[in-house]
Amino acid sequence: MGGDKREKEWAVLMRAANAGDAAAYQDLLRRLAPVLRESARRGLFRAGASVADAEDIVQETLLAIHLKRQTWIADAPIGPWIRAIARHKMIDALRRRGRRIDLPLEDFVGILASADAEPDLVVADVDRHLDTLPAGQRNVVRAIAVEGASIDEAASRLSMSNGAVRVALHRGLAALAAKFRTRYEDG
């Protein structure tokens, strides 16, 4: 499987990230994305739901890993922790979809084979949620995520202080996670 070695590498990266190494953190999240994508597709396929929604679940899971990273103990195995978060988000997503059954058209093998590649299609959920954020948070998240600006660049582009950009980014991401969660609760 090589799963053990892979998970040890994740743990090393996460410890570096916790010590303030943003590059290690980004590396970790990039490595996790295809793994989460595969498990999301597998879960949706098993539930008889459309695998087209997998990327929403991947993004929601990455947000949860980010916002809940304080719940990982640095000397505990990281694999069970990540799988528990992914499973929680998967179940949540299926429940929110009201167990609506979509007949999957895709072939399962083909689905898994393409898990490494991020689909090019626009991921609808996160953009819709982003639109509902307060303007300050929305602009900062857009500048950094979509336009690839650094904190400093975003600060000068938006005429904000460095600290204000950091705060808006963090609050914006937390608000995005909350929007995912409440998506179907009200309606």
Partner: protein
């Protein structure tokens, strides 16, 4: 927004990491217990001659067993807040205060004449006990739930129940210093019932507040 974009934003967000579940719990419990203790002093107060009775085994037992339950429930809360945590052993430890309580009931049954059992069980203050323990548990329950919102429990309702158990046990330990009913019969029935009420309230609150 593509996933790669989101990852860039996540990596750029270097807001200080929040406290882990254990530390968050310890930090929240401080003010929660202080408020509960202040309410205890204001509304209930110590029973007369509490210190003179400190050697009484029944009084010492009901305080100690409540504190033991609080400590074990606290361990459970800190653990259950982590995704994928195996809490089974920690839950098994909760049997310890239950076994101690059962043993104390047996000891009481052997030392008290049957004719007195009813009086000991009903005590003087059953309804006050049922109201006071949840009343004293309210502030700790809010504090523990607030700490748990930092965590990521797999099962929010179960985590809320554990929070209720911890808060109920703390409320019971405080109330034990007011309550004139020391018989294990009374403790086994009314304290248990009151703590169960707080546990149920915690489960309901948890299923709403602890989703993530």
């Amino acid at each position: 927004m593509r996933t790669a974009d989101l990852i860039r934003a996540l990596a750029a967000d270097n807001a200080p990491r929040r406290l882990g579940p254990g530390k968050a719990l310890a930090l929240a419990l401080g003010p929660g217990v202080v408020v509960a203790f202040a309410l205890f002093l204001k509304v209930l107060g110590f029973r007369p001659h509490l210190l003179a009775m400190a050697g009484d085994p029944r009084l010492a037992f009901k305080i100690c067993v409540s504190l033991a339950l609080a400590a074990l429930a606290g361990r459970l809360v800190a653990r259950i807040a982590r995704p994928g945590a195996d809490a089974r052993k920690t839950i098994l430890w909760l049997a310890l205060p239950a076994v101690l309580l059962a043993a104390s009931v047996v000891a009481e049954a052997m030392s008290v004449p049957i004719a007195d059992w009813g009086r000991k069980l009903w005590g003087a203050n059953a309804m006050v006990c049922l109201k006071s323990i949840p009343f004293l548990a309210a502030a700790p329950l809010i504090a523990v739930l607030a700490a748990l919102r930092n965590g990521a429990p797999d099962r929010p309702a179960a985590a809320g129940a554990a929070a209720g158990l911890l808060a109920g046990a703390l409320g019971a330990a405080l109330y034990a210093m007011h309550c004139p009913d020391d018989s294990p019969f009374f403790v086994a029935v009314w304290y248990t019932l009151a703590i169960s009420l707080v546990t149920a309230a915690g489960a309901v609150a948890g299923s709403r507040l602890l989703r993530w």
